[in-house]
Symmetry: C2
Subunit: 255 residues, 2 copies
């Protein structure tokens, strides 16, 4: 049974997190920033953490020169005025090219995410010529961070690693979950009845994606707010994983 | 220039809205429910209102018998165990069929939304055999509601009409904006620089969709919470429209 919707949710952006270096202890940085802001975690809080600082902490920011452009990457980069090393990085991180047209490279990453450039991104990085790759296993990143934060605070928490993805048909990116720990990511209404006793046509709501989207509202792209606390959201506690959010290839009309 | 991200956002679900009849004054119902809950609107509040109660108020809930199934609708319904009248309604509300496979009918509605069944939905309706169609002009619905609420309260507001849409590649529906008034729906970062002075790879964030997603967290599907107030979100005031969120056909790799 899905959890009842709460009447009030609060979303707090956590500023004061310094530039994250490879090997940094994210849990410690989050707790220090919380303490500095006079806040503390509460049972049920969902921490939403941008992929970028997780990748930085995990050493997934690499120099662009690590990628030797293939003929395909060189040709694509030339046509569309891109850095051939960045194109090569996107191809290297992909297990399938979904669309490659008009300078847009949409791939399925090794994790199964369908997004632009395999999530490879050059913005908000300290080093020149650097590329941030998605974490190798964002669920594991979320699980580790959750365990450390729960141990340090004694609170029951959930952690989402987020990234902004584009989507077909609609303009603009939205923040989605790429790693999930501590919650069931899909709220399942199958078998539930509406107020009139009829079956619901909507069967599953992507709650983790909606929480990630909500968190983006306090993160922005220019402000240094890589972590948000979402307080009061209803969810079903669980070990958690992003996998239920990824549609199986055989079920997807758009593959 | 995009507005700075706020440090704190609050989302309040508005219960206590009665069953909405055709011709109902939604502004009055919202204000009464707010007063009963001891809350009042503040400058900058974004009201997110589910499409369903807007359609009810605007008489867009119709009897299924109003739709005479075509041969196509009858065949589709038979194969996939659906109501042929509901299939006919979805086809009648469409200007294009995007995909029709495995019992899933994805269309482009007359407004330009790409969604399942043209947004036609039978759940949470009082009458037997009724179908809710999307509002004829959700931007106009949002604009009217905003004007009435601003006049009654003297506050500067934004209003989003929302519906839950599925998406390719990821499971679960998410709430998105189908009508917008009072805000620029896309936050534009084009020309902005990151913390290191580099161009951002993400150029536009679908803020209205993220606000709609955030609101869904207090709405749920079973609870009677058709309105949420999102307080503290940063946005650029404007007349507003959902149209900037709809990708032009020529720009969309997935048409």
């Amino acid at each position: 049974m899905p959890p009842s919707a709460p009447s009030r949710i609060e979303i707090v952006g956590l500023s004061g997190i310094p530039e994250v270096a490879a090997g940094a202890n994210l849990a410690r940085l989050v707790l220090d920033a919380l303490a500095a802001s006079g806040d503390a975690l509460e049972d049920g809080d969902v921490l939403v953490v941008t992929q970028k600082i997780v990748s930085k902490a995990e050493g997934r920011v690499v120099t662009a020169d690590a990628f030797e452009p293939s003929a395909l990457a060189r040709e694509t980069a030339k046509t569309w005025h891109k850095d051939p090393r960045a194109v090569e990085a996107a191809l290297a991180e992909a297990r399938r090219v979904v669309k490659m047209d008009r300078g847009v490279l949409i791939t399925e990453t090794r994790h199964g995410f369908v997004c632009a450039n395999s999530g490879v991104d050059a913005s908000n990085l300290a080093a020149e010529d650097a590329l941030a790759l998605l974490p190798l296993d964002p669920d594991a990143s979320a699980t580790r961070l959750r365990a450390e934060l729960e141990r340090a605070t004694g609170r029951r928490l959930a952690v989402l690693i987020s990234d902004t993805f584009g989507r077909p048909w609609r303009e603009g990116v939205v923040n989605v979950a790429v790693g999930v720990a501590g919650m069931v990511p899909l709220v399942d209404y199958r078998g539930e009845r509406d107020s009139q006793g009829r079956s619901l046509s909507t069967t599953q709501v992507a709650a983790a994606d909606e929480i990630a989207a909500a968190a983006e509202l306090v993160m922005g792209k220019l402000d240094r707010v890589p972590v948000a606390v979402v307080r009061g959201a209803a969810y079903t506690p669980a070990e958690g994983s992003v996998k239920p959010l990824l549609r199986a290839a055989g079920q997807d009309l758009f593959r």
